[in-house]
């Protein structure tokens, strides 16, 4: 009958935690690598459409972003859709335009891969295609022909 009382009184051996720092460091390195530190302040609303046939981008650093949408601070910037590059508003044409921005971004990369750079247009659902079309024309003029319409994955809703 004493079978079940054998261990009574004895203390459980302490769990060896010496490997804990290693595990934590492993996780730490993972997150350090996966982290993208600088997220530009978003000035425009970009609720992207949801579609089913999305593709993932493999090389994140080969993508330049153009954000299009109604400004978040409507009291200051109005409600008409605006274009955002990095941290500031931009225009379609001119010194602060699409061509200038993409050319600048292209020059940050070695010449060999410049043709592989993709432009991701992250446009709000409500934006009209006229504006997107103007951006597309500008991109074609500087021969940046790889384009990505940002979208989230999911079932298409009517």
């Amino acid at each position: 009958m004493s079978k079940f009382k054998k261990n009574k009184g004895k203390e459980l051996p302490a769990i060896n935690t010496s490997a804990l720092p290693d595990i934590v460091f492993m996780l730490l390195f993972f997150f350090m690598v996966a982290t993208k530190m600088r997220d530009p302040t978003v000035l425009v609303k970009t609720a992207v459409p949801t579609v089913s046939e999305v593709e993932k981008i493999e090389k994140k650093s080969w993508v330049n972003h153009i954000l299009v949408g109604p400004p978040i601070n409507a009291a200051v910037s109005g409600t008409a859709p605006r274009i955002q590059f990095d941290d500031k508003f931009g225009q379609v044409e001119g010194a602060n335009g699409v061509q200038t921005y993409i050319t600048l971004k292209k020059n940050e990369h070695p010449e060999a891969i410049r043709d592989y750079l993709t432009t991701a247009i992250k446009a709000d659902k409500s934006v009209k295609m006229g504006l997107i079309q103007d951006i597309k024309q500008e991109l074609r003029k500087i021969n940046s022909l790889k384009l990505l319409y940002s979208a989230s994955e999911g079932e298409v809703k009517e």
Binding site: T35, M129, Y149
Partner: protein, 181 residues
């Protein structure tokens, strides 16, 4: 004068885990895991204004005409259509192989022409593009299963089989030159 050799005291590594945890929490909080996803599109090169555009004779049956107006309504081959039926009709078009008279001669000759108004919303445009890509993906999938007994996704991207599938169903979606109305 011989000095007693003293051992360096062992460093207590017990708090190492705490420090690591601290850093871990920091990176956990700052990490944004958002993935870049979207529909990949290749734009046509900008036409040279000094060179007149070449006149390409396209057999009308090979072109599936898709129009979207500013009210986000869809017109396919001059007939109104619901977006839910677009994939099906596109597949019918590219897989026709000359059977029905108003769809394409062959899959390689099939072209989808997408034209939109300046007032079309991005939502609807991306949805329609998605339906077209879906049609091609499904056609490729069916062809890969039939010819190679494997899903197109399982074929390595650079393999000859995958290339053959892409050659059989080239994604020819033409975005029309914007016109001023």
């Amino acid at each position: 004068m011989a000095r007693k050799s003293r051992k360096t005291p062992e460093i207590n590594a017990g708090s190492m885990a705490d420090i690591a945890f601290l850093l871990l929490v920091f990176f956990l909080v700052t990490t944004t895991m958002d993935q870049q996803k979207g529909l990949r599109v290749q734009l046509p090169p900008y036409p040279d204004p000094t060179v007149p555009p070449p006149v390409v004779e396209q057999n009308d049956r090979n072109v599936l005409e898709v129009l979207v107006n500013s009210g986000d309504q869809l017109l396919v081959e001059r007939k109104p259509l619901k977006i839910g039926d677009l994939t099906e009709i596109t597949k019918k078009h590219i897989q026709n192989e000359g059977r029905l008279p108003n769809f394409a001669d062959s899959s390689t000759a099939a072209i989808v022409s997408l034209k939109n108004d300046r007032g079309t919303s991005v939502q609807r445009y991306v949805q329609i593009y998605n339906e077209l890509i879906r049609a091609y993906n499904e056609a490729r999938e069916e062809y890969a299963l039939k010819e190679y007994g494997r899903s197109y996704k399982d074929l390595p991207k650079d393999s000859d089989d995958a290339k053959a599938v892409r050659k059989k169903y080239p994604m020819q979606i033409s975005e029309a030159e914007p016109v001023e109305y």
